[in-house]
């Protein structure tokens, strides 16, 4: 493993040691975060799956009704009937923080809350009752559809976050920490080597000085 390109000084060693302990603590924290994110993510995916199934089923049924409506009404009549929607829905998007991920929270308000019979924007004389069925189903599936959007977006955001965290954890685990360890080891060895050289030099000088003393 490659060591960092630093001067083997004592001061450098202290900084590196500090960095090493920070990296270790960071690694542990990130690892915990990743685990927790993963746990929540799995829960959410399960919820997402169920919702998606339910929504798809209901939408399918609605489209089936719609198909039948289009069979008994001509395209022009059908389109004329529904081109001008009656209901207005306002959507309020806020964010919620899950493990430092900002996920959306959608809240929608129907202007005709409690008056479900009024959603039909057309007259009765030229339209088929099958259209009512299709519209009613669509109306009922809307809250779930919105929930699905919310959960699916959250899943995406969390997946991104998990990936980012994993990359950080891995970088710390396989790059930063080994590098630091290596460099610390290298500096220590270098310093020890210097120390030993110093001692040898001192010993040599001592013996030289002793020799000189004897010769006098």
């Amino acid at each position: 493993m490659a060591k960092l390109n630093v001067n083997p000084t004592r001061m450098e060693l202290t900084t590196l040691k500090k960095r090493f302990s920070t990296a270790k603590r960071g690694h542990k924290l990130l690892k915990d975060k990743q685990d927790e994110l993963m746990r929540r993510f799995i829960d959410m995916i399960k919820e997402n799956n169920e919702l998606r199934k339910a929504v798809e089923e209901e939408l399918g049924a609605s489209f089936k009704d719609f198909l039948m409506a289009s069979a008994v009404m001509s395209t022009e009549y059908l389109e004329e009937s529904i081109i001008f929607p009656k209901e207005r829905i306002s959507l309020d998007v806020k964010t919620k923080n899950i493990m430092s991920v900002n996920v959306p929270v959608m809240e929608f308000k129907r202007e005709m809350e409690g008056d479900e019979g009024s959603i039909y924007p057309y007259g009765f004389a030229n339209t088929s009752a099958e259209l009512d069925g299709a519209l009613e189903r669509l109306y009922n599936v809307l809250p779930k559809l919105l929930m699905l959007a919310e959960v699916e977006k959250s899943c995406q955001l969390m997946a991104d976050e998990i990936e980012k965290t994993r990359r950080r954890v891995n970088a710390l685990e396989y790059m930063t920490i080994p590098q630091l360890q290596e460099t610390i080891k290298y500096i220590k060895m270098k310093l020890d080597e210097n120390e030993r050289g110093n001692i040898t030099r001192l010993m040599k000088i001592k013996s030289m000085m002793q020799e000189q003393e004897q010769n006098q």
């Binding site: 198909l67 039948m68 289009s70 069979a71 008994v72 001509s74 395209t75 022009e76 009549y77 389109e79 004329e80 009937s81 081109i83 001008f84 929607p85 009656k86 479900e116 019979g117 009024s118 039909y120 924007p121 057309y122 007259g123 009765f124 004389a125 030229n126 088929s128 009752a129 099958e130 009512d132 069925g133």
Partner: protein, 333 residues
């Protein structure tokens, strides 16, 4: 009016009647292996002249639209009394008015939704409505448009456009029929209005709307009085058929209610009411004088177009043959 003036038109139509698509051919279309195969069967009918225009079965709407146009221009050609056909084509005028009014309010062009079959050509209609110049319109139509706009601007409810114009449309049709003084046609309209009202009542019931709303959507001019519907709104479905057992509609009501209780859907009633009208129309099959056969042919043709649409939509979306057959309307021949 002199019933003899229709003789020439009738003899011509009697020939054309033989070219209507009969039930067996419809059955063959339903049992065809694909939508393309079903289209091929149309080749053997009057529709063949339009088939050259399209390349794929998905474009069947073009064929149906062209045929509708052709039929109306044919009818205007053969009829000695224009007003007679006007009664039927008014429906398209009002449709066009609805489209244009909605286009105006939405500020988007909706020209593709116009059907150029009405008594007023769509181009003219567009100019008239744009300039709010209704002088050329029939007084009832003019009143209809003006009242509709007032109501719409009051509460900005697009449903009101449809409801109001529907009401005026039937008023207009009835007044035209009254002017014509033909009992057969007036009764035809009355039956249509009754059946629409019954259907409306079912739908309003299903939508859980209150009486006031029903009052605005019930059409005037049928055989059954408005009060009949108003009083029946809160009845249970079973009682409804019993309550109306004195009317001609008892049979179809009974069958529809049975089906409704099973499936929760009103489509049986829609089918049966179309069939009921067809039965009524069929009475004119052996008439050689009077306007009845003209009306009959037009209705027969419109039903035929509806049936082809049901089959084509079913075929293109791989709906089971029984399901298509269930919805198919009674044919004239």
């Amino acid at each position: 009016m002199d019933k003899l003036i229709y003789t020439q038109a009738i003899s011509r139509l009697k020939v054309l009647e033989t070219r209507l698509i009969e039930r067996t051919k419809m059955d063959r279309m339903i049992d065809a292996s694909s939508a393309e195969e079903a289209m091929k069967i149309l080749q053997e009918s009057e529709y063949s002249i339009h088939l050259g225009k399209i390349k794929r079965a998905e474009e069947y709407e073009v064929v149906l639209k062209d045929e509708l146009k052709r039929i109306y221009s044919l009818m205007y050609e053969v009829t000695p009394v224009k007003q007679l056909i006007d009664i039927m084509s008014l429906r398209y005028d009002y449709h066009n008015i609805k489209v244009l009014l909605k286009a105006k309010e939405l500020k988007t062009p909706l020209d593709h939704l116009l059907i150029d079959v009405g008594t007023i050509p769509t181009e003219k209609m567009k100019v008239y409505l744009e300039n709010e110049d209704y002088t050329d319109f029939n007084p009832i139509m003019r009143e209809g448009i003006e009242k509709t706009l007032i109501r719409y601007r009051n509460d900005l409810d697009p449903q009101m456009i449809d409801i109001n114009l529907d009401a005026y449309m039937y008023k207009h049709m009835v007044s035209q029929a009254d002017e014509l003084g033909e009992g057969f046609i007036s009764k035809f309209l009355k039956i249509s209005i009754d059946l629409i009202n019954l259907k409306t009542m079912f739908r309003v019931k299903k939508q859980n709307k209150e009486k006031d709303f029903l009052e605005t959507v019930i059409l005037q001019g049928g055989i059954l009085d408005k009060d009949v519907f108003m009083n029946s709104l809160n009845d249970s479905m079973d009682n409804l058929a019993q309550k109306l057992s004195y009317t001609d509609y008892y049979n179809i009501l009974r069958l529809s209610v049975e089906d409704y209780l099973k499936t929760g859907k009103i489509n049986t009633f829609e089918k049966l009411s179309d069939d009921f009208i067809m039965e009524y129309i069929k009475k004119s099959k052996f008439m050689s004088f009077g306007p009845e056969p003209l009306l009959a042919y037009l209705t027969a043709k419109e039903t035929e177009i509806k049936n082809i649409r049901i089959i084509m939509v079913g075929k293109l979306n791989k709906v089971a043959p029984e399901s298509i057959r269930e919805r198919l309307r009674e044919t004239y021949v």
